[in-house]
Symmetry: C2
Subunit: 255 residues, 2 copies
């Protein structure tokens, strides 16, 4: 158990030093901002980071029960309690943690690096696809990537072998309603702008059954994106569409 006045000093030092601070103790929490919340008294872990983010963790779930980002943090003693306050404007938000006691307080000097290298994001897949769209459909040629319009940014614009403009919406995981309506929104926009008809392809590893129904009702197409994660620095991911497309051709030949 740590004395509250000692804790106050340590927290203030830690904030000044942009340390990572860990607080464990019995507290209750009030939040007022984009919503309001109350957390009744209980033992919690509070994590304060050098960039002014603060999170109250219970012993379940990866997400904190309460949190704030980009705050100014201060603390004070009040009627035998240690109050940690986080504050920010735009939007106006306030988080108040009232500690009845503090079981443990630690602060760590940790530099605020950002060196995660992640592979397999949509952006990675998009870049690989731009090199060759024929795995989606023979003769399909990329025209533009991340084309920005007034009502959204579409992932890929291409042209098929018959000269039709093709709008492609790419999803790295199973596509849902949102992906379908996104694609439709981009298509309507381009069609209105250029006064032409377009084809729309939703490219994803799979699609929800009801979303596929909607897609087909709207006259759009689904194409399976068959990719493999490669934890390799040179190659962010490997798209296996070509092989599966060849398989499809083989199946056709059998008929």
């Amino acid at each position: 158990m740590i004395k509250l006045d000692k804790a106050k000093t340590e927290i203030e030092k830690g904030i000044l030093n942009q340390d990572m601070i860990i607080l464990v103790g019995d507290c209750f929490v009030d939040y007022l901002g984009r919503a309001t919340s109350k957390l009744t008294k209980g033992k919690r872990l509070v994590l304060i980071k050098g960039d002014g983010s603060i999170a109250i963790h219970q012993n379940r779930l990866v997400k904190p029960t309460n949190y704030m980002v980009n705050t100014r943090i201060g603390c004070e003693l009040n009627e035998g309690a240690l109050i940690v306050k986080a504050h920010k404007q735009k939007p106006a938000e306030k988080l108040t943690i009232s500690f009845e006691n503090i079981h443990d307080l630690k602060r760590y000097e940790i530099e605020a690096t950002n060196d995660l290298r992640l592979s397999g994001s949509e952006k990675d897949l998009n870049e690989i696809l731009m090199q060759d769209l024929s795995m989606i459909e023979p003769g399909l040629k990329a025209i533009n990537q991340q084309q920005c319009f007034r009502k959204g940014i579409c992932d890929i614009i291409a042209e098929d072998k018959n000269g039709n403009l093709v709008i492609i919406e790419l999803k790295r995981r199973q596509a849902d309603f949102a992906g379908v309506t996104q694609l439709q929104r981009y298509m309507l926009q381009v069609e209105k702008l250029k006064n032409i008809k377009t084809r729309g392809i939703l490219l994803a590893p799979s699609i929800r059954k009801n979303a596929l129904e909607l897609l087909e009702e709207l006259g759009l197409e689904f194409a399976k994106l068959d990719f493999e994660l490669t934890p390799n620095d040179k190659q962010k991911a490997k798209i296996k569409g070509l092989e599966s497309k060849q398989q499809t051709i083989m199946e056709h030949l059998k008929k």
Copy 2:
């Protein structure tokens, strides 16, 4: 600095006991699952919870750089390093944290409660609105809430004073493209099902400019949701629509 074999024992005890475990030390991290990632060696804080969630935190941002949920966690000593592994299936994911050293290790017995009371969610607003929709428009009457259809669940179905069916999509914050297309999707569904025309109202505190354009192009309507957070137990929030509606009437009378 904590000896790695001692750390191993402590971690294993903590996991068995479903404690909250804090590890601070120099480590590198590999993740393979829905994507792949590598985090180069550095000082990090690892938070393990009783429900099998695990998160690696750097000294910035509220979100962890690496994480996993619902895992089985184990640890082992290997060539002078302590390896913490989290594992799960469906989807298959693996997280490996290799500690070169451990500066600090703590475990805390914290019960896995879930007693956050939050007010001002969309659900709260929906419930209040269902009691009286006249604040949106005189004569508007609620028919159904959270009606589930084949292609989505719409927030509120109502009937206006002329007997038209009105589909309402509610957003607790500024509405965007997604909200507009959601509303449209629900409308088209109901229209097809019942073979009638419907009105669509997007109800939100505000709406993005371009989203409003899209909304209007589609022939849908926007209604301002003027609400106030009340950190009060009896009343989850207070909708001020009535007053603003009266103001609108006053403004009309002035013309």
